[in-house]
Symmetry: C2
Subunit: 192 residues, 2 copies
């Protein structure tokens, strides 16, 4: 499947081990190349829903794909129950505050994805709603201590213990919450 990609040097421009795993799950052969000199600037007044796709595009534009390169970038943000954009927590106290906000409520996870070749730049974003049961302080502290979710938007990984015990249900793509909407990406990659 996706034999059309054989002609490309596919590059995943993300340091996330989850994204690596998810892209590998599509059966795509790729290498990882991460640049850390990209300034993630969000224009004033941009809607929360548009931020992730915008950031994935910014990252993609920082690469100049040559003849046969195909670059994949992604960005995931959490939009809290009251519309606040949540990135990665700064420290433990920040992680705790984020999880307290998500507890007993429904939030959105938006992942923006951009695919960039010498000929084309195409992007989309996918949204998933996630409903958390009420989390006790003990559960939140246990999670932060044992899983150190400092590298995760919204301070949680749905594939970790907190997702097992805390997530009542979702609406949309599960893998999108993990950081890459693989089904939509597969559909897009077919067209390259």
């Amino acid at each position: 499947m996706l034999r059309n990609l054989d002609k490309y040097d596919v590059v995943l421009a993300s340091g996330s081990p989850r994204r690596r795993e998810l892209l590998a799950g599509l059966g795509v052969r790729f290498r990882v190349e991460v640049r850390d000199d990209i300034e993630e600037v969000v224009p004033k007044g941009m809607l929360a829903m548009q931020v992730a796709e915008h950031l994935s595009r910014l990252k993609a534009q920082a690469y100049r794909p040559d003849g046969n390169q195909l670059i994949i970038t992604a960005d995931t943000i959490v939009i809290g129950p009251h519309g606040e954009v949540m990135g990665k927590p700064h420290d433990e106290a920040d992680a705790r505050a984020m999880l307290q906000m998500l507890s007993g409520a429904t939030h959105s996870v938006v992942t923006g994805v951009t695919v960039h070749t010498a000929q084309r730049l195409q992007s989309f974003s996918a949204q998933t709603q996630v409903e958390f049961d009420t989390l006790s302080d003990e559960e939140i502290d246990y999670y932060i201590e044992n899983y150190r979710p400092m590298d995760k938007a919204g301070a949680y990984g749905i594939q970790e213990w907190i997702g097992y015990i805390g997530v009542r249900g979702i609406q949309g793509s599960f893998y999108n919450v993990m950081g890459l909407p693989v089904q939509r990406l597969y559909t897009l990659l077919k067209t390259f």
Copy 2:
């Protein structure tokens, strides 16, 4: 967490490696004990929605938990787009027919769970809707050949390649589709 279970000898009565993984993900210590002499009889006229919980209860009743045993049983069925109950496929042709039915449509996955101790028998079921994109014959054949989904209700595992490339989205618990609604089970286990 779930320290209340320390007083029990927890037994998962299921041969499914996915269920084993999922229960372990809750941080529960347990052993596996599978009996294969249970006759899975569904009363005539039973609603499709009730079958999984009924079967999990049948399985649980086959065990007679002694003083400190806590038995967990589960059963997962797929209810196809037209209401047909789908168990595990009999052969490749049956798997192919099931996936063709699920292609481009929404179906339900219902897992029934029973927890049984000497004092209590408690059961529930959870339902998740799964929306598949249209699957090509090539994709269906590739999946069956490479993943041999003969041990899975509805002939697919959402955590496998077919779930990555084919599932547009779900409504409900992802882990329920894998075979164990861990969040609801966690909530129930807290009360033992």
